[in-house]
Assembly symmetry: C2
Homo-oligomer: 414 residues x 2
């Protein structure tokens, strides 16, 4: 039986829809990848009654309770007094934590106040969890083999604590034989097609190796998990991946945590190639995805967002006859754009996107969601049409993912 | 006392961190703007025990229970059988819903299966909530003055049901005298400074008009709410806004639901001006924000993402001496870029961004987070330096918001 966890988020700003709770989402994914089962997520307001009641409920359900929020320096934040009451203990000043807070204030050249010093007062029975990113320490409690941890709600503070201290502790205490994952990252193929393709292989998996399909926008992760992190199990997982890869290879862009924009960066770097893009309907989003990867200036030279036809014509030398005859959303235009951006910016690869994101601009012949993508390198210039649906935001995102995938496919053939 | 609500999300994919729960966030905001108080948000797995237990708990806490998820056509989805059991009723086929499902299948040219027909079988005591976007209807139950609604987890299906049917019903039943909001949208000013500036005005507000500070990245919404949607109250709210506006006007970009990129589009359209941008460290994200507004091709001509110095030099005619002497992240470079992009793309306004997003590329003199933004129109070319911190993603977003705000401020002066 896997260990069970409850995630408790404290804060009116989440209840009232002001803050999207990305903390509990991130924690869920991290616990899942340790093989710990999240049985409940709970968001409550910052009131004594709610906090105490939820702690009791959570303790009944789970071995692990992870609490975020309600730990600021002001009196509105009730988590700490509630934990003192819940564990029937008292506050004691932690000198190590105080030194850390003092140090942070010194660095910022600010005077430490009594309120800030009180952040070093912790329930006597807890272990302080270091918070290198901020002043409020985490608090870790052990009770009858259960672990209860309280963390600040600031995402980067919480994540740092989880990664540095809490996840390793939980792994040691609750994941007896360790856990081992390998993730195959696929793109541009529906989950159902993937499942049909690998059905026989999936049926042949031993019962101690689990397969999960994790779909996200335009891509599906195939995750193999074994609950015993031994050399032999690792080898067995790798063997199984080697078996299945040939049948799905054309959809696979990478492994484990690599995103498609990182995979493209890696491929370009390996092949010593540079990339430029020209994007109309995606309006900068494709360049944004490419440049969200640290170090992307090594392989990405730049991009254009030619939103008006005049700019397509003047800056990128698309002949105005072609624009007039076929319209901006057409095969000849994206072919011309991809080739011209490659030459204009003097890169090895050029990519173009032109489409109708919506809500306006559609026609019988070219409805909203019609998108042409072009790709050009030294050996060829090609284009492909896509038909997406729904709304502007989704069309922009799917178009960028399709363009990233088109780069991958063509780089693979290089 | 405002009515109380519990939001119940059903689905393993949320518990295991595969799907970010944006549904409950959106619902929270909608209920909040009706003056209904969300007291708890709960995410549970798709098990009979969890569903029944949570319904009981929620009924104790709230007048309204909104449930999403667990309503698909497969047998994994347990919400409907659990509702039958909870309300001690039985399933009955709803002919109107069946006709709707049949119609959807006819349109798609697909054969309806028995499993799909069963989606029209609903608990006998519920009212079907139409789902124009999909096959699974919503179910609305009345019990001792409380309302329990079950909806599908697909976001656009859920939102459509909420907007068309459920929110108007809740408003009628629980918001006796109606509710009226006006939101003042500010940008580029910290919440604490805003609060200090309007303190006297805030203290003078009558107790039937509430003020809320709703901060998001780089901007703060000031929301005035009155729980009586009468002509006289509306006039009073407007009066109060007119009183406070002069003291904060320079931070205000719009009202109610208008986003900063929409406000800029509106301003450019009103003044009949066009815009172009050149963005380095934001890597396309600024253009993406501008073009996320439908119809933005009316005022946005295009943009460049000159990621390499060669491109800055060749495409945008920044003299290489300037680049060499001052570096790409400098005042002379953004001044030159803003002016050149305006001239090159023949627009009225040109904007430039150049900075060090991180994690690499920082120095003693120009640490990670150093960002220069330039603005150029027919009358002037100006630049401003910003110092952000933290990580790449946050620096990119804050830089884009700062650039949007710089456009607003300078357009205001036009």
């Amino acid at each position: 039986m896997p260990a069970k966890a409850v995630i408790l988020s404290i804060g009116d700003e989440i209840l009232y829809g002001q803050t999207l709770d990305t903390n509990s989402h991130w924690i869920s994914g991290e616990l899942d990848s340790l093989g710990i089962r999240v049985v409940r997520k709970l968001t409550i307001g910052d009131t004594r009654e709610d906090i105490l009641k939820s702690l009791l409920e959570a303790e009944e359900l789970a071995d692990i309770i992870l609490i975020t929020g309600g730990l600021g320096p002001t009196n509105d934040d009730l988590t700490k007094p509630c934990l003192v009451e819940y564990f029937n203990t008292e506050l004691a000043r932690n000198e190590e934590v105080l030194a850390h807070i003092q140090n942070l204030f010194d660095k910022r050249g600010r005077e430490i106040s009594e309120v800030n010093k009180q952040q070093a007062d912790l329930p006597a029975n807890c272990e302080a969890v270091p918070n290198p990113m901020g002043t409020a320490p985490g608090m870790l409690f052990q009770k009858n083999g259960k672990v209860i941890v309280s963390m600040p709600g600031v995402p980067y503070e919480m994540k740092n604590m989880m990664e540095e201290t809490i996840l390793p502790r939980l792994k040691k205490q609750f994941v007896k034989d360790g856990i081992f994952h390998r993730i195959i990252r696929t793109i541009g193929v529906p989950e159902s097609v993937l499942a049909e393709t690998i059905k026989d292989w999936e049926d042949s998996l031993p019962d101690y190796i689990k397969l999960a399909y994790l779909p996200t926008m335009g891509s599906v992760k195939l995750r193999l998990t074994t609950d015993n992190d031994s050399e032999s199990r690792r080898a067995e997982v790798q063997n199984l991946i080697d078996q299945v890869l040939p049948s799905i290879e054309k959809h696979v862009f990478g492994f484990d945590n690599e995103e498609i924009e990182e995979a493209i960066g890696r491929m370009l770097k390996e092949k010593n190639l540079t990339l430029s893009v020209v994007e109309s309907c995606t309006g900068g989003y494709l360049s944004h995805r490419i440049t969200s990867v640290p170090g992307s200036s090594q392989w990405f030279s730049g991009g254009f967002v030619p939103y008006s036809n005049a700019v397509k014509n003047e800056q990128l030398k698309v002949p105005s006859e072609i624009l007039k005859e076929h319209g901006a959303v057409s095969e000849p235009v994206v072919l011309s754009l991809a080739e011209n951006v490659r030459k204009e910016l003097n890169t090895d690869v050029g990519v173009s996107v032109s489409g109708i994101a919506g809500p306006g601009g559609g026609s019988e012949e070219k409805p909203v969601g019609t998108v042409w993508i072009g790709y050009s390198d030294r050996n060829k210039t090609v284009a492909k049409k896509f038909q997406f649906i729904r709304n502007r935001e989704i069309n922009i995102k799917f178009s960028a993912i399709a363009a990233l995938n088109m780069i991958r496919i063509n780089l693979d053939k290089e």
